[in-house]
Symmetry: C2
Subunit: 616 residues, 2 copies
């Protein structure tokens, strides 16, 4: 009897301890989309010049993911590179409950080794226009990117209607390989990557020839420009086939490594309706700016002469351009070959007409049904953006700290308390607001390398004031588009010069600030954002210009990591987390491997005692 | 009393179980050499054209290691690459007892992740000329190599004397980056890497200009050739400063990615004395061939007119050359600047004069005191070398199997019995010896990918007959230098056509065959080697031409892996071994981490029982 009772007790204890671990949440009505992807270098000719590009399943750009809000996306990503690790970041997806799927090497996971596969499983909880890209070294620049489109749930409606849609993924392209770019950026003196050779729309551009210009001047293009209007011509522009008198949604995402862009459709007005997966108060534009990391949806009507076709064109802003416009064609006629448009693209607005840029940015306001920001913040962090020198090397720094990512990802280090894997001191919450002269080059340009994190209290409301300043070169300050992982934030305002709590505080927009995941800071200006730190995980916030991030322009936020369940071992199998777990001192497999885990569980000791004492 | 006795018993059991693990062998009289190395890409101009190269501690080639036989070398190798893993193979070092330090990714260890450090500790047990190089992807081609010189132990003498010594590390150099080379080789149709732009001696060459030719013709070199005789001129040839009437040892190692070379010193005869760390029956030459993976020592006397300097020159053999000779200067005068030699280099012997090559190879015989081969073999493996197609992709294959390395290194997989990590079937021990026509392209050119290993019985004597054949192109068969890890082998003989047991067996040289770690097979010929499988570990045997190995030209031998002690976790932290160890089902840390290992040991259960029952 005692034995039977004992066995029952043991069983109960066992079930209580282990049973719950076996239950994995399974989504209900929503769909799950499975993908098997292989990343590799392959030949490509994004701008008609053969080069190597990073592709997925033989495609560049990578395949477009389409899902509905609430769906689950599962990507088994196999690394087919020969010697390089790889990760993919799902830009704009908040990864609630799955911070290990954010795809940031050194932050959310260990890079996937060559030949190995990582399972990215995450929920796409909000309709909108997103994209994905490499987030390791400069693999985004190498071509590792693609679109991620999330439609509204069935039965739900968006605050606008349209008859059809197209997606344009914008990027910039260099002929010099990323490894050489990296060496240059890390050298002393630094060799800058220079301006891109081409702008790409959905991975297609035309090097050293502007079809538009050729058309305009009538003088003919360069020999490389052999586009004859066939969709399948190498590097032919994308063709968007439309019917007259319809309304189309154009989804636009920018994954440029460097340049800011302006997009227009000749003769067509556009209605801005969505930014970074959040609805806007609609407003009409003839063209719009888009910074790296941003996405927009615009609506346009095909109300122009249907006997013509029309250029869609993007050009460089915010930097003195040395790159021809990137092109696509709005095709009313569906002839084969496609007729070239009769009207040439207009010139891109002046690259340094920042007033124009600011006017546009300030028009972006949240749709009336968009969530409102909390009225107050718990903590305000000032982030001074400066270019600096460290031991003679040119770096970007935030509050004088240039971010250098540690080999062991933060998520595992913090979860398991591995303090030696990164600097346990927080970087400063502010800079010398009173005396720092943002209009001059840093008077003492020395910064320090750092890898500390900002630990945010879970559910606190955080304000960040991004403060731009003069770079090392006198009289110059650049645009930086900042992207936050794991959250959307409200853009409370932009201002000139140094942020002043007295003067600027009251100007902040708490009424209808737009929700974004990426926002720009203008030269010599500031941008104020607010977000709620309600997503347990570790989240970088960084300049989305690839070489700037490479040079240290970012910070790392951590919140509520102790609340997280088991991190999949696959995300931890490097550095000090691997060392710890391989020595057997922690960690459980989230997914069951072959056979039961063989670690000894202390509960067995309890069984033994119960077993022995049941005899007395 | 019972308690005291119990504590004592527990202590004893504990000590027996754990104590032995704490003892690490410490070398006695011999020295230990410690190095801290960082691998990174950097700017370099190996042949006067700026490019990126893989360097160690800012040097290209990497630092030369000097040690004495019996010494221990410790290299803490930190990977400072941004996204690539790295390993270093110590070419010619047998790694007895330390097979995890052989530096072969996918075979002996997991590639070192960016930011992480791997400890290579190994004994250099035999005097000789060695080198080291990357063994992951095509990182050797990217410039990851350097010299490793092992002198005789103090008090021991070599079978020759000399007054001074120099070392020359030979390599070939492309302007196209290795990532692009890899994509081309893996593409369908394949894009071949072509002939190298330059030959380098100790990392220095001159692109598109032959100083020698310029000198010879009197017509002047190309503008790039601005060598004025200063040692520190960019890409100036190496200068070997000698005194007249002395005897010098010249150590020569070839780490070429592709080409076979011939080296000569104008007007100087040379005496061959060492090959791959083994002494030779001395013989005199005017020039000598050296294949990738080989090393030689030659002696020469400075017995020429001391008012002149003399070119040392290397040229391409075995392939139709498109690359100028590589140069160094033997400088009798020690003037600054160095005077250019008056006599031009002679032309390199005809690239396809294979009779000349064979005559040289057959002259290489072991020194009388060199170990003799066992008289008989236990197992003979025939390895047919063919070029093949797999699904249209051009590959090299051995017995119709093209080697594709698995993500989880063999050493750990075999040690821990992780059968699913590679094909458990052995590749074939032979090909169709009777019917295969080695003089024609493969009649059925289809091969298969494979990653099975040849499991060798420990201490068995193994013969390998390397059988060359026609490649895909009719009428063509190429040179392949085969390199064996973990062992030296005796070169029993070379022959024409297909190896015939009847005809060729009796011609094999068992009297004084040279010991080597690398041997060439000539077009349409065979080479027979013998070795004793007495080194527990997993050892690749492969063509040392980098693109050929990349295309599958190799096999893997495993012997006595069950005899090995603990493999350091650092060598196992990837793939299925990491998965296994992180799930806690095996493995111990070889080096003690911070604090004791926290895995539960079953011995504790015993303690508990003893403890409880000691009360009754």
């Amino acid at each position: 009897m005692a034995l039977t009772r004992l066995v029952l007790i043991c069983l109960l204890v066992h079930l209580c301890c282990f049973g719950v671990l076996m239950i994995r949440s399974v989504s209900g009505a929503n769909e799950t989309h499975f993908f098997k992807w292989e990343v590799e270098y392959m030949y490509g000719a994004p701008d008609c010049l053969t080069n190597i590009v990073m592709g997925i399943n033989g495609q560049f750009p990578g395949p477009t993911i389409k899902a509905k809000a609430g769906d689950t996306v599962v990507v088994d990503l196999t690394n087919k590179l020969l010697t390089e690790g790889v990760v993919i970041h799902w830009h704009g997806i908040t990864q609630r409950g799955t911070p290990w799927a954010d795809g940031t090497a050194s932050i959310s996971q260990c890079a996937i080794n060559p030949g190995e596969t990582f399972n990215y499983t995450f929920k796409v909880d909000k309709a909108g226009t997103y994209f994905y890209h490499g987030h390791y070294g400069m693999q985004r620049s190498a071509g590792l990117y693609g679109l991620l489109i999330v439609d509204v749930e069935e039965g739900k409606e968006e605050p606008f209607k349209y008859d059809g849609e197209f997606s344009l993924l914008l990027s910039d392209w260099w002929h010099k390989g990323v490894h050489e770019q990296e060496v240059g950026l890390s050298a002393n003196p630094m060799t800058w990557i220079g301006e891109p050779q081409s702008l790409l729309i959905n991975g297609k551009g035309q090097y050293n020839c502007s079809l538009a210009a050729a058309h305009n001047s009538g003088s003919g293009g360069l020999p490389e420009c052999n586009f004859r209007g066939n969709e399948n011509d190498t590097c032919a522009p994308n063709i968007l086939r439309v019917k007259p008198n319809k309304t189309y949604r154009l989804r636009v995402a920018s994954t440029t490594a460097l340049v800011s862009l302006n997009l227009a459709v000749r003769n067509h007005k556009m209605l801005m309706v969505e930014a970074d997966g959040n609805y806007l108060q609609k407003f009409s534009v003839k063209d719009f700016d888009i910074y790296s990391g941003e996405t927009y949806s615009v609506l346009f009507k095909t109300d122009q002469n249907p006997r013509n076709n029309y250029w869609i064109y993007v050009g460089v802003r915010g930097r003195e351009p040395r790159t021809p416009q990137g092109l696509a064609i709005l095709d009313y006629q569906s002839t084969t070959p496609t007729k070239q448009p009769t009207l040439a693209p207009k010139p891109t607005p002046g690259w340094n007409d920042y007033q124009r840029s600011k006017l546009f940015s300030k028009k972006l306001l949240a749709h009336s049904e968009s969530p409102k920001p909390p009225a107050n913040h718990h903590r305000r962090i000032f982030l001074l953006n400066t270019q600096n020198r460290i031991n003679g090397y040119t770096k970007w720094a935030i509050n004088n700290v240039s971010l250098t990512l540690p080999p062991t990802p933060y998520l595992g280090s913090i979860k398991y308390g591995i303090n030696e894997s990164f600097d346990q001191n927080s970087p400063p919450d502010t800079f010398d607001l009173n005396t720092y002269d943002i209009m001059s080059p840093p008077s003492n340009p020395n910064a320090a390398y750092g890898n500390g994190v900002y630990t945010l209290e879970l559910n606190n409301t955080i304000d960040v004031i991004l403060q731009n300043a003069n770079m090392l070169k006198a009289g110059d300050s650049e645009i930086h588009p900042w992207h936050l992982h794991g959250h959307d934030f409200w853009v409370l305002g932009y201002g000139e010069g140094k942020f002043s709590s007295e003067k600027d505080e009251k100007k902040l927009n708490l009424k209808n600030p737009p929700l974004r995941n990426t926002v720009v800071i203008f030269p010599y200006g500031w941008t104020a954002i607010r977000f709620v730190a309600d997503n347990p995980g570790v989240w970088p916030f960084h300049c989305h210009i690839e070489p700037h991030l490479h040079m240290g322009m970012g910070v790392v936020f951590a919140e509520g990591v102790d609340r997280l369940g088991d991190i999949p071992n696959e995300a931890l199998s490097c550095g000090l987390t691997a060392k710890m777990l391989m020595s057997g001192s922690g960690g459980k497999m989230l997914t069951s491997g072959s056979g039961p885990p063989k670690t000894f569980n202390p509960i067995y000791i309890l069984y033994i005692f119960i077993f022995i004492f049941s005899y007395f």
